[in-house]
C-alpha cells in the first residue's frame, strides 16, 4: 500500500509546470483567445519539447502517472491545447469522448482526423466540420462530422480519457484555491485582510478538502485502470463525477472570494473558470454522469470494502 506518486512522474510534472510557466502561464490562454493559431505554434512546441507525443499513459502505471501529472500541470494554466486527446491518440488521431448526438470537441480544429467515442466505448472516425464557437465559455469548441464507425471498441481509452480529464480539473481547482488564498491575503476591507474573517477561512478550508479529495481519487483511479482493467468503467465515471461536482463548488467559492475582480479577465481566476467549461460540459455534465455511474455500478460493481452492485473486488 503506497498512495504516493512515483518520483519520476512527479519530476516530469514539475518539468511540465516550468515549461507552461515559460509560456506565460494563463497568458498563453489569453493569447490563444486573440490568436487561436498560437495554439499550434508555441503551445504545440512546448508539448513536443516535453515529449508528450512519446508518452502513452496506457503503456504502464508509471507512464500513466506521468500523464496525470502533465494534465494537472496543463490544468493549472488551462493550457489551450487538447492535451488529454493528444495523450490518447491512436494512429495519429487524438481521442475525444462525445455524446450520442452532436460530436462537439474542444480544440477540434487542431487536428484533421479524430477518433471519437461514446462513454460506452463505441468509436468512430471524425473530422472538423464547423468553425470555432468563439464564445466566452467555448472559445475553441468545434463540431466534428462522423467519418464512419470503427470496429475496435474504445472502452479502455474512454476510461483513461475520463480519468485524465479529472487530473486536468484537479490542476484547475488546485490553482483556483491558490489564487483565492493570494487574493484574500492581500485584499483589505474593514481595515483588515479578508483572510482574517472566519467566514472566508472556512470557505477556503472546505475548498481545500475538495481539492485533496479529488487528488487522492485521481491517484486511486489511475491504479484501478491497471489493477482491474476489465471493470474500471465505474471507477473512471466516479472520478469524472467527483471532478465535475468538486469543480463546481470550488470554482464558485474561489471566484466569489475574488469579489467583482473574479469576473474580470485581468484576473487569472476568470480565465480558469471560463476556459475549463468545455471540459466540464462535454460530453455531458454531472447529472447524466451520475446516472451513467449508477448503471455501470449495477452492471460491474464498485470496488470497496463491501460488495456493491454486481460484484465487489474485495467482498
Amino acid at each position: 500500500m503506497n498512495p504516493d506518486l512515483p518520483s519520476e512522474a512527479a519530476e516530469y510534472g514539475a518539468g511540465a509546470a516550468r515549461a507552461f510557466a515559460s509560456l506565460g502561464g494563463l497568458d498563453a490562454a489569453r493569447r490563444a483567445e486573440v490568436d487561436p493559431a498560437e495554439r499550434g505554434r508555441s503551445v504545440a512546441r512546448a508539448l513536443e519539447a516535453l515529449g508528450a507525443d512519446q508518452l502513452d499513459p496506457r503503456a504502464d502505471p508509471d507512464a500513466a502517472a506521468a500523464a496525470g501529472e502533465l494534465c494537472r500541470a496543463a490544468g493549472r494554466v488551462m493550457l489551450p491545447y487538447p492535451v488529454v486527446p493528444l495523450l490518447l491518440r491512436t494512429g495519429g488521431a487524438p481521442l475525444a469522448v462525445v455524446g450520442e448526438g452532436r460530436l462537439r470537441v474542444d480544440h477540434g480544429d487542431l487536428f484533421d482526423e479524430w477518433r471519437v467515442a461514446t462513454v460506452d466505448g463505441r468509436a468512430q472516425a471524425a473530422k472538423p466540420a464547423s468553425s470555432r464557437l468563439a464564445t466566452k465559455l467555448g472559445p475553441f469548441v468545434v463540431d466534428l462530422s462522423p467519418g464512419g464507425p470503427q470496429a475496435e471498441p474504445a472502452h479502455r481509452d474512454v476510461a483513461f480519457h475520463l480519468t485524465l480529464s479529472a487530473w486536468l480539473v484537479l490542476g484547475v481547482i488546485e490553482r483556483a484555491v491558490e489564487l483565492a488564498v493570494e487574493h484574500v491575503s492581500g485584499r483589505v476591507q474593514f481595515g483588515q485582510a479578508l483572510s482574517s474573517f472566519q467566514a472566508v477561512q472556512f470557505q477556503l478550508a472546505d475548498a481545500a478538502v475538495g481539492v485533496e479529495g479529488l487528488r487522492e481519487l485521481c491517484r486511486f483511479t489511475l491504479w484501478r485502470l491497471f489493477a482491474d482493467p476489465e471493470r474500471c468503467q465505474p471507477d473512471a465515471l466516479a472520478v469524472r463525477l467527483h471532478a465535475l461536482e468538486t469543480a463546481r463548488t470550488v470554482l464558485r467559492t474561489t471566484q466569489q472570494l475574488h469579489g467583482a475582480a473574479g469576473l474580470c479577465d485581468e484576473y487569472d481566476i476568470s480565465i480558469l473558470c471560463r476556459h475549463v467549461q468545455p471540459c466540464l460540459r462535454l460530453p455531458f455534465g454531472s447529472e447524466r454522469t451520475a446516472l451513467e455511474l449508477a448503471g455501470a455500478v449495477e452492471r460491474m460493481g464498485f470496488d470497496s470494502l463491501f460488495p456493491h452492485g454486481a460484484r465487489s473486488a474485495v467482498g
Binding site: M1, P3, E8, Y12, A205, L293, A294
Partner: protein
C-alpha cells in the same frame, strides 16, 4: 525534461501508487470477519444500548480477540502487541467500526490511552495499566470537556490542589462517554494558578472511577445510553504515581490523544457496509440511483483521505491539516450517507429495533451520525486548522 520510458523503472524496489494492502492484511480482514460472524449476534448495534447483554457481548469479544492475538495487532511487540503495520491497524479499525464496534468502549483504551501510556507513562504505569488493556479487561473514559471548556479545551477549570505528596481534584466534566461502565479515567485538571498561557499547568491523572468523591450522571440524548455523561469530582485524591506525562505536561498528552481520535474513527467503513447491506436487503430505489452512486464515491473519497493521513503517520510526518481534512470529509460523508439511507427507507425511517430495515442499523446510524461533526473536535475546529495551514503566516 522529456518523458523517456526507460526512466520509468522504479529503482527503489517499492511499488508506488499501489492501493493493495497486501496478503497479511487481507488475511487479517478475513479472520476478523469470521470472528465477527462467529461471535456477534445478527443485528448487533454496539455495546451502548439499553440491553446489558450487548455490553457482555463486547466484553466477551474483546477477550476472544485478545486470545487470538488480535486485540493489540498494532501495538509494539514490547508491550504485548503483534507489531503490525499501520495498514493492519487500519484494517482492524475498518472492520470493527463497520460492524458497530464490537469491542465496545475498549476501542479507546486500545486506540489512544494505551499508546499515550506507552509514550508518556513511567515504567511502573506501563506495567500496571498496559497488560489489562491488552487482555481486554478494562474500560477507560476520558475526562476532558467541561461545561465551559468544549472546543476551547485549554480553558478547563477542574483543579488539582497539592495535598501531601499527592493531589485533591475538584471539578466537573461533561460529554464523558462510557463513564458509567468505565473502571478508569484519564482526567485533565489544572495545577497551580491560571497563567496567560492557558495550556500551562494542565496535568493528566489516571484515576479509578470507583474512588471516593467521583459521581456520574447520565445525560439523556438521541444517541442512547452511555454515550454522554456528566462526571463530578469532589475532592478526589490522586497519588503522585497517577500523574501521566509529568505535572503541567497534560496538553502534550491531549494533543496526542486528539490526533489519534481524528484518524482512529473510520466512519466511512460503516457507511460502506450499510449502503451494501441496504441495497442487498431492500434494493436501491429508482429515485435514488444517482444519489446512491454519489454516496459510493463520497465514501471512497473519505476512505482515501483517511489513508493519506495514515500514510503520513507511517512515514513519521503526520500533519495536523491532513488529519483535519480527512476528518472533515469522513464526518460529513457519515451524515450524507445517513440521509441517503433515510431517504431510501422513507416512512420506515422512524422505526427502530430488530424489525426495522437492516435490523435497525440505519436508524441507529442516522442518530449517531448527527454527532459525527461534533465528537472528538467539531468540524469548525478542523476548518480552523486547515485554513491556518492554507494561509500560513499571511492571515
Amino acid at each position: 525534461m522529456i518523458w523517456a520510458p526507460s526512466s520509468a523503472q522504479t529503482t527503489s524496489g517499492e511499488s508506488d501508487l499501489d492501493y493493495d494492502f497486501g496478503d497479511r492484511a487481507a488475511e487479517l480482514r478475513g479472520r476478523l470477519r469470521q470472528l465477527i460472524a462467529d461471535e456477534i449476534p445478527p443485528g448487533y448495534l454496539g455495546a451502548f444500548t439499553d440491553d446489558p447483554a450487548d455490553l457482555e457481548v463486547a466484553q466477551r469479544f474483546c477477550h476472544r480477540l485478545a486470545d487470538e492475538g488480535l486485540l493489540t495487532v498494532a501495538w509494539p511487540k514490547e508491550y504485548g502487541g503483534a507489531g503490525g503495520s499501520v495498514w493492519e491497524q487500519t484494517v482492524v479499525r475498518e472492520e470493527m467500526w463497520a460492524h458497530h464496534e464490537p469491542r465496545g468502549a475498549q476501542y479507546m483504551g486500545l486506540n489512544w490511552v494505551g499508546p499515550a501510556i506507552m509514550a508518556f507513562g513511567t515504567d511502573e504505569q506501563k506495567q500496571r495499566f498496559l497488560p489489562p488493556i491488552a487482555a481486554g479487561d478494562v474500560i477507560w473514559c476520558q475526562g476532558f470537556s467541561e461545561p465551559d471548556a468544549g472546543s476551547d479545551l485549554a480553558s478547563l477549570t477542574t483543579r488539582a490542589e497539592p495535598d501531601g505528596d499527592g493531589w485533591r481534584i475538584t471539578g466537573q466534566k461533561i460529554w464523558t462517554s462510557y463513564a458509567e461502565m468505565a473502571q478508569w479515567c484519564v482526567l485533565a485538571a489544572r495545577v497551580g494558578t491560571a497563567t496567560a498561557k492557558k495550556h500551562e499547568g494542565i496535568t493528566m491523572f489516571l484515576v479509578p472511577m470507583d474512588r471516593e468523591g467521583i459521581s456520574v450522571r447520565p445525560i439523556r440524548s438521541m444517541l442512547g445510553r452511555h454515550h454522554l455523561n456528566e462526571c463530578f469530582f469532589d475532592d478526589v485524591w490522586a497519588g503522585p504515581d497517577e500523574v501521566l506525562g509529568g505535572v503541567g505536561n497534560g496538553w502534550s498528552v491531549i494533543r496526542r490523544a486528539l490526533a489519534h481520535e481524528r484518524v482512529g474513527i473510520v466512519r466511512y467503513a460503516r457507511c460502506d457496509r450499510l449502503l451494501s447491506a441496504f441495497a442487498e436487503e431492500e434494493g436501491v430505489p429508482e429515485l435514488l440511483r444517482a444519489r446512491w452512486a454519489r454516496a459510493l464515491v463520497d465514501v471512497r473519497v473519505a476512505r482515501l483521505l483517511a489513508y493519506r493521513a495514515v500514510r503520513e503517520q507511517e512515514a513519521g510526518e503526520p500533519r495536523d491539516a491532513t488529519a483535519s481534512i480527512a476528518r472533515l470529509a469522513v464526518t460529513q460523508c457519515d451524515q450524507q450517507v445517513a440521509e441517503v439511507l433515510f431517504q431510501a427507507q422513507e416512512d420506515r425511517s422512524l422505526e427502530a429495533g430488530a424489525d426495522a430495515p437492516v435490523a435497525g442499523a440505519v436508524e441507529d446510524h442516522w442518530r449517531y451520525a448527527q454527532a459525527a461533526t461534533v465528537a472528538s473536535g467539531t468540524i469548525e475546529i478542523q476548518r480552523m486548522i486547515v485554513s491556518r495551514h492554507l494561509l500560513g503566516g499571511r492571515k
